[in-house]
Amino acid sequence: MKTSLSRRNLLTMAVALSSPLRAQQSPLFVEAPSAETGITWVHENAMSDARHMPESLGPGAAFLDYDNDGWMDIYLVNSGPCDFYTPSKPIRNALYRNNRDGSFTDVTEAAGVGGGFFGMGVAVADTTNNGLPDLLVTGYREMRLYRNQGDGAFRDATREAGLGAVQTNSPWSTSAVFFDYNNDGFLDLFLCNYVEFNPGKNSCGDNKLGRNFYCTPRVFNPLRCVLMRNNGDGTFTNVTKGTEIETALSKALGVVATDINNDGLLDLWVANDTSPNFLFANRGSGKWEEIALPAEVAYSMNGQPRSGMGVDSMDLDGDGWMDLMVTNIDQEMYALYRNRGDESFEDVAHANEVAQATRQMSGWGLKFADFDHSGNPSLFIANGHPDDMIESYSKQVAYREPLLFFRHDGKRLRNVSATAGPLFRKSFAARGLAVGDYNNDGRLDVLVAVNGGAPVLARNEIRSSNQWLGVRLIGTSCNRDAIGARIRWSAAGKVRQRMKVGGGSYLSAHDPREVLGLGTAAAVEWVEIQWPKPSTRTERFSGLQPGRYHTLTEGAGKA
């Protein structure tokens, strides 16, 4: 009698044993329930029979530490009264203070950041280098700069900051980004403007259901984006005039500030809806060159403009050049552009499983981050079709769509959404997406803003043996948020690098800290910061303990 198991038997047993294990795989993200978080706020999309376009595009969301206690708070943007909408009950934006135990407390009233207009998105930055993050809320017909007073309250500084005229000339602002375009140490502002919308004039009706529907953006006239220079005294000056930013007619929805050519000047990658995207190359001295067409990121491979919505930038392949991404509408597929290093890009969405996963999807917010501490960036995307009646005419496309998550396998991205847990089997009318570590466990969580619904706080539950290190950068001669900083770190002899971009995603703002994955290395040898100009410093910090956050201040490292 044969007592030993053959190799074939062993293989069969291994497969039989591993199958249930696979089925029981831990979810990568779980939805933190409202009962646990205390977040009861719900977005009111103001959806009307007339189907006014602004109803379908919001909202955005932000992670920010407004009270500087080291814990990420949450800001959520709502619609509000405007020329086509009068709320039947009071609605407002919401600021939730982190209680440091997984729950939040609504402090909107005390903070004075309720909005009161038809809000779209939010950008967060320390605009005065005083150590306090300010809030810019964009919107339809109005926008607001809330300046952080440092006592738990904000005040409306829109006009005193010189943004009143911009508000008038930006009838529909969407995403915004603070970044230092002129390297003077103060964060400037780039504002995306969408389209000319007139509720009395612009409507699209009589679809197959005999009803009004949300128009294609093609029927609207474009607007112009705006660049505001920070004067360093709390005010801004409009410096758009005479630049290619002024001449480029946009239907802009998303923006990220990144450095595509490693010249130390932050460039702007802008998603346009149904018109060519923009890549504004910062040539210094206030000169901008719009190079999206020669850079091969304006159009699809077929030379067609797509419906660009959210954007982000990350050095995905670790070659030292910042790559770009943009989400589009169904049938267009999202684009993932690899930087060739010569101000041109190659769409590698197919090779990274992004194109295949997104053919029937419509994407909005997205963010690259090291969600699994592997040292390589993963990708999280929020999706949902803008037309709430799409399912009446399409069997393939849904109004509410699942979230997508891609992990980096060391060579490329892999779509792991199907095995990422029950959250990824749910569907949402998702729009904004913010990334931040709200429970300070080093695992980056995701806040998804939902049109006409409650936000989704996706808690990162990725289990691995990988280590991490968190850094909060504080500039002293450069902008205090250190946007544009280059970060290199060495763990077990492997050197990795990253750039701290400005903005990214859609209508949203992120945890200002950087989480650096160490892989399986137990320690980090050093972290090197190349501070953005006007700083000339490149400093190394050593002796940093993994598994916690560190504050790295410009000038405190070893040159």
């Binding site: 020669p294 491979m301 403009p305 090779a351 194109a355 069997k395 393939q396």
Partner: protein
């Protein structure tokens, strides 16, 4: 198969066109002329075509530079089947007013009646391109006849695109369905050429293609599946099935398209559809052979050459891509997409100045399309 457009319907529904023409042209004219014109129009409206004709002839003599009498005289001649006279009137009209879309459309329809098909097609296209404002029936007739003529010269892609514009608006007549069927089956026929034993097949295929044009993919796919079962040996049906499934179920669509090209190796559109989808799905290596076959089938096709160029470009064969894309640009100089691909190819091979020049032309063509709608160019081979 004879499914003509009834003239009485055109007469009835062209009325708003007269009003439009009056509104556009009356500015600055004497009251006397307007009164005479109105009187003539009343005769026309009453259906007293002989009297109306006399009245407009008199107006044409006394006001030779005015377009309205020519327009009405052309319409009356068309309705009385005096096509040569109608053609002359519409020709004079568009020579005088080159941007008059309805004039070009009526000229094209008249030439169609005279079986001067080579003249009719560009005139119908120009009429549609210039615009047939608020003239639903004339617009429909122009589109349908354009589709008939595109089928005749094997521009089935343009025919299907034009017919889909009607289908998506819910327009459905036996003639539209039949034209869809001819186009979907890739038969170079006018409706009168459809053999009697093929009529049922044409109408069934047309119903399927109409549903696809109306963006009712699921129903279209179900019909296409039934067609394939009912006519298992009929060429062209796997192609229809493949196109109906392409968005919803690509693996099955790919199988159907591959069956079509295997069974019908001369089916040009099956080859270009398969190639285009494979390129779009990041499989340019596989697409290349279908592109090459499509080029072999239609060497003068800018679509086939453009696709082959893209496939070559995507697989790192930029030098060869340049040659194919230059050929595509020669064949369709106003096509923005091939200009874009050529610019990419020039960039790859380091011909930067030429790449910049192609991008410049691409941008101009894009702007023109955005400003005025996409020009229809059936003279360039598909």
């Amino acid at each position: 198969m004879r499914l003509p457009i009834r003239r009485s319907i055109i007469q009835q529904l062209l009325r708003p066109l007269w009003l439009l023409a009056i509104a556009l042209m009356l500015h600055g004219q004497s009251t006397t002329f307007q009164e005479q014109l109105q009187a003539a129009e009343q005769l026309f409206h009453r259906g007293d075509l002989a009297a109306a004709n006399q009245a407009f002839l008199a107006l044409a003599r006394t006001h030779a530079s005015e377009p309205q009498p020519q327009w009405y005289l052309g319409l009356i001649a068309y309705q009385q089947s005096r096509y040569q006279d109608a053609r002359d009137r519409f020709r004079q009209l568009v020579e005088r007013q080159e941007d008059m879309g309805p004039g070009w459309a009526m000229l094209g329809l008249t030439e169609f009646r005279m079986r001067d098909f080579d003249e009719a097609l560009p005139h119908l296209e120009l009429g549609r391109y210039l615009g047939i404002a608020n003239q639903d029936t004339l617009a429909q007739a122009a589109a349908l006849h354009q589709a008939f003529l595109c089928n005749r010269i094997q521009r089935f892609d343009v025919a299907l695109a034009v017919l889909s514009e009607l289908a998506v608006k819910g327009k459905k007549t036996p003639a539209i369905v039949a034209a869809f069927g001819v186009a979907a089956l890739n038969r170079p026929w006018l409706l009168e050429d459809v053999p009697s034993h093929e009529q049922a097949l044409v109408m069934e295929a047309g119903e399927t293609a109409w549903l696809l044009g109306a963006r009712r993919q699921q129903e279209a796919a179900a019909r296409a599946e039934a067609l394939v079962v009912r006519y298992p040996e009929q060429s062209g049906l796997q192609f229809i099935l493949g196109t109906t499934l392409a968005r919803a179920d690509w693996p099955r669509a790919e199988t159907a398209l591959r069956k079509e090209v295997a069974a019908n190796p001369n089916h040009y559109y099956a080859h270009v559809t398969l190639a285009s989808e494979l390129i779009d799905r990041g499989r340019p290596e596989e697409a290349a052979s279908f592109c090459e076959k499509a080029v072999q089938l239609q060497p003068e096709s800018y679509v086939a050459r453009g696709l082959l160029g893209k496939a070559l470009l995507s697989t790192g064969r930029a030098d060869q891509a340049v040659a194919e894309l230059e050929a595509a640009v020669q064949l369709a100089p106003t096509n923005a997409n091939v200009r874009y691909s050529l610019a990419l190819a020039y960039t790859r091979v380091g011909r930067k100045a030429e790449a910049a020049a192609q991008r410049e032309i691409f941008t101009q063509l894009q702007e023109k399309q955005t400003a005025g709608g996409k020009p229809v160019d059936s003279q360039a081979k598909p």
